[in-house]
Symmetry: C2
Subunit: 447 residues, 2 copies
C-alpha cells in the first residue's frame, strides 16, 4: 500500500492520516509530512469548497482539485499521497479507514473552522458544533476499537482560553485553593460557537485518553498567516488556499490584501485584542514535531502552537510600516467591533513545549508581509473588494443581510460593473473601488 | 391562555415552561410549580418511554400517560398544566413555543440523562451529545430572538466537576497565578459522555449570557433519591418514574430495591466514590427557589444543588442499618467497577447558594429509606431481578451482551418462568430469585 521509501526519510517513518487535507493548513501539512518521508493518507469531504459557494467567497489563489494536486505532487517529487474523499461524520467510513490503514498518527484538521461562520445563525452554530463533535467522536471510538496505540494530533485553538487576567499555561494549571492543590484543566472561556466546539472536542478527547488509554496531542493553535511553505511554493499547482474575506480570512492575510489594494486596514474596535500568531511554515513544522514525538499511552497533552503575540492594532501598524518603507501610505481605520470581546486586556500565553521539541520559529517581519502582498498582487484580478468592507457577521445579531452572496452572481456583477480593481504598489490612491455603488447593489440583491 | 389564578399564588406568578415534563424530576417539578400557583406549560418528546422499550427497562412504579396525568391533576387541584408534546431538537417548534408563550422562565430537564446509556457505544454517545447540545442551542437562539428576558433554569450535574483534589466551588473559582488574579470558570473533569454533554451545554449557555445578555441558572445537581413529593403522593395516578435498573436507576433507589428483595447491595469497586445527594423534595424546592429569584440580565450563575455528600459505601451502610433496625440482615458486596473513576478521593463541594435563598433540606434518614422500600414492596411484582445483577455497561468496553433486552420478550420470560419474586420484609432469605437460570436465558437470548 505504501511502496515508496524516501531517501531522506526520518529514522522512524510514520503512516499518518491527514484529515481535512483539502484545507488551508491540511494541504500544506500533508505536503510537509510527505516531503519528510512519511506515508500520508489524505481524507476530506470537500465541504470547504461547498461552503465557499454558499458564502460567495473564494480563495484568492486558485487551487486545483485534490486529484490534480496529488498527481502533480507525485510527478514533481515521487511521493505518493493516498487521497480518499470521505466525510468524517460517516461513522462507518471512519471505522473502516482506521481499521484498514492502522495509522501511527492522525492529524485532525477536518472541522468547520470559522468563528464568523458559526455565528451567522442557529443552523450555522448547530452545524459547526455537531459537525465538529460528531467527527471527533467517530475518530475516538474507531481508535478505541481498532487502533488504540495511534497518536491523535488534534487541531484546537488558542481561542479556547479566551482572555483571562492571568498567564495562560499549556492546557493545565496547578491550582492551590483552601490549602489543597491539584493540577487541573486550565479554565476556558471561548468566544464563539466555533471556539466552543473546539473546547467540547478537547474535553471529549481528554476523557477518551483517561478511560481508554488513547494518546492525544491537542494543538491549541494561534492565528496563522502566510501562504508559502517550501513544498507549496514548488509549483503554482500545489498552492494552498488564501482566504481574506470576513468569514474565512485571517487577520494578517486580510490586512495584506487591503494594503495591496491601497485600502485602509480595518481594525475591529480599539484593536487592543491580543492573540497568538504564527507563520504557516511553523504550523507544518509543529505538526511534524508532534508526530515525531508522540504522546504516551493514556496521555492527553496540550501544546500552545504560536510563536508571537500581537494586538490587532500592532499587526495593522506592522503592515503599514512595511508599506511605508517603500514610500507607500496606508491608513488604519477602526470599525465597530462585530464581535463581543475585550478590546483592552492582559494577555500572556505560554508556548514553550514546541520550542523544547526543537521548533525554530519564523518571526513576523517585513519580508513576510511583503511576500504576502506580492501574492495578493499576482492574483489581484480575483480580489472582491466587497469582502474587505464591513464585516458581515455580528456576534449579537448574526449574519447581516449581505453575508451570503452566490459566487456566480457576484462574479457576473463584477464583470458587468468593470469595477476598477487596479492593484499597484505605486498608486494606492487610484485603487479604491466604487464601494458605495457596489454596496447599494449588494443590498438590493439580498432583499 | 392561563385563566386560573390560585388563591395561594406567590406575589409574583410566573409563566414557566417545564421542558422534559414526562421525566422523573420534570413531572414532580411541574406539579410543585403548578401547586405553588405558577402557570405551567409542559413539553416532552416522550423519548424516555421509547428508550425504556429499547433498553428493556421500565419504571418500577407504573406511570400514566401525559394526557391522563394532566387531566387528573386538574381534576384533583383545579390547576391546569398546558401539555404540549414536542421535541426540543425541532428548532422551528422551539422558536414558535418561546415566541407564543413568552415565558418568564424555562426549566430545562429535556436531555438524555443517563451516564451508562451514553457509554453503551458510539451511536449512544453521539445521540446523547447531539441531542442535548442541539436542544439547548435551539433554546438559546429562540430566547435571543423572541424572549431575551426569560430566565433559563438548566439542569446540569455535579458530575461536571469530577473529583478534583481541591474544594469544589459553585461554578467559579478565584485563581491567583504568577501574581495575578481572576475569577474563572471552575476547571471541569466530567466522567462520561453524558456528563460531558452537560459541560458542553454549560459552556454554550455561559457564552450566550455573555454575548446576548441572557439570564441563566445552571443547577449542578447531585444524585437524587426518593419518589414522593406532596403533589406526587396525592394520587397513584400522579406518580413519577422510579428507575432502579443499571442504566437509568440512581444508586440509593437501586439499593432500596435490592434491600426490599433481600438481595445484597452491589457497590461498584471500593465504594469510596463520594458524590452530592439530595431528596426529590429538595429538587423541586430548589427549582422553585431559582424560579422565584431569577438571575440578572447577562448573568450566568451556578448553584450546586445537593444537600449532603456520601460515599457509595456509606449509602449502602445506611440502607443496611435501616433494615437492621427491623431485625433484617442485608449484605453488601463489591462488584468490579464498570466505570473508570477514582474509588478513594478527596471530595468537598460547596452548596451554600440555595441555602442562602431559603432551602430547607430534607436530610437522608431511616424514614426516607424505609419509605422508599415501602414503595418497592408495593410494586414488587414489577421488579426484574436481572436488572439488579451485574452492570450491563462498562466504561472501557461499552454495552455488554445483555444491555439491550426488549421489554415484551422479558415480560414473557418472566411470566413463563414464574420467577419467585417474593418480596417480604420478614423473610429475606426466601426472596433471592433464580438468578443463574435467568442469566443463562438472557445470554442465549442476546446471542
Amino acid at each position: 500500500m505504501f511502496p515508496r521509501y524516501h531517501p531522506g526519510a526520518p529514522v522512524s517513518k510514520k503512516t499518518v492520516i491527514v484529515l481535512g487535507i483539502d484545507g488551508y493548513l491540511g494541504w500544506a501539512t500533508a505536503l510537509h509530512l510527505s516531503s519528510a518521508g512519511h506515508d500520508v493518507v489524505g481524507i476530506d469531504s470537500l465541504v470547504r469548497r461547498r461552503w465557499d459557494r454558499e458564502c460567495g467567497t473564494q480563495s484568492l489563489i486558485p487551487i486545483k482539485t485534490m486529484p490534480q494536486r496529488v498527481t502533480l505532487w507525485r510527478r514533481l517529487t515521487g511521493h505518493r499521497i493516498d487521497w480518499r474523499p470521505m466525510d468524517l461524520c460517516d461513522a462507518r467510513a471512519v471505522t473502516e479507514l482506521i481499521r484498514d490503514v492502522q495509522p501511527d498518527a492522525l492529524v485532525h484538521f477536518a472541522e468547520q473552522r470559522s468563528a464568523p461562520f458559526s455565528m451567522i445563525d442557529l443552523p450555522h452554530a448547530t452545524l459547526t458544533q455537531v459537525n465538529n463533535l460528531v467527527g471527533t467522536l467517530n475518530l475516538l471510538f474507531a481508535l478505541r476499537d481498532h487502533a488504540p496505540k495511534t497518536h491523535l494530533i488534534k487541531l484546537g485553538t488558542m481561542g479556547e482560553y479566551g482572555t483571562p487576567n492571568i498567564d495562560i499555561e499549556e492546557g493545565f494549571l496547578t491550582i492551590t485553593h483552601n490549602g489543597r492543590q491539584d493540577r487541573l484543566p486550565f479554565p476556558m472561556q471561548p468566544g464563539s460557537f466555533y471556539h466552543l466546539s473546539k473546547l467540547h472536542d478537547s474535553h471529549n478527547i481528554q476523557f477518551a485518553c483517561r478511560i481508554w488509554g488513547l494518546r492525544a496531542t491537542d494543538l491549541h493553535q494561534g492565528v496563522v498567516y502566510g501562504n508559502h511553505t517550501d513544498d507549496v511554493a514548488m509549483d503554482a499547482g500545489l498552492s494552498t488556499r488564501f482566504d481574506y474575506d470576513a468569514i474565512w480570512g485571517t487577520v494578517l492575510n486580510r490586512f495584506c490584501v487591503q494594503a495591496a489594494l491601497g485600502l485602509p486596514l480595518t481594525v475591529y474596535g480599539k484593536g487592543g485584542q491580543t492573540r497568538g500568531f504564527l507563520d504557516i511554515r511553523d504550523t507544518v513544522a509543529c505538526v511534524r514535531l508532534a508526530l515525531e514525538n508522540p504522546a504516551g499511552e493514556g496521555e492527553y497533552r496540550v501544546f500552545n502552537q504560536f510563536t508571537e503575540q500581537f494586538s490587532v492594532k500592532t499587526l495593522a501598524e506592522k503592515v503599514r510600516d512595511a508599506r511605508a518603507a517603500h514610500g507607500l501610505t496606508t491608513n488604519i481605520i477602526h470599525l465597530p467591533n462585530p464581535r463581543v470581546e475585550r478590546e483592552e486586556h492582559y494577555y500572556n500565553a505560554k508556548h514553550q513545549k514546541l520550542l523544547d521539541l526543537g521548533l525554530q520559529p519564523h518571526y513576523l517581519g517585513d519580508t513576510l508581509i511583503e511576500s504576502v502582498i506580492d501574492i495578493v498582487e499576482r492574483h489581484a484580478s480575483r480580489v472582491d473588494p466587497v469582502e474587505l468592507e464591513q464585516p458581515n457577521v455580528d456576534w449579537r445579531r448574526g449574519g447581516t443581510a449581505g453575508w451570503r452572496k452566490p459566487l456566480k452572481k457576484a462574479a457576473a456583477d463584477r464583470d458587468a460593473s468593470h469595477r476598477p480593481v487596479v492593484v499597484s504598489s505605486k498608486s494606492p490612491a487610484s485603487t479604491i473601488p466604487l464601494r458605495g455603488t457596489e454596496k447599494e447593489r449588494r443590498v438590493a440583491q439580498t432583499r
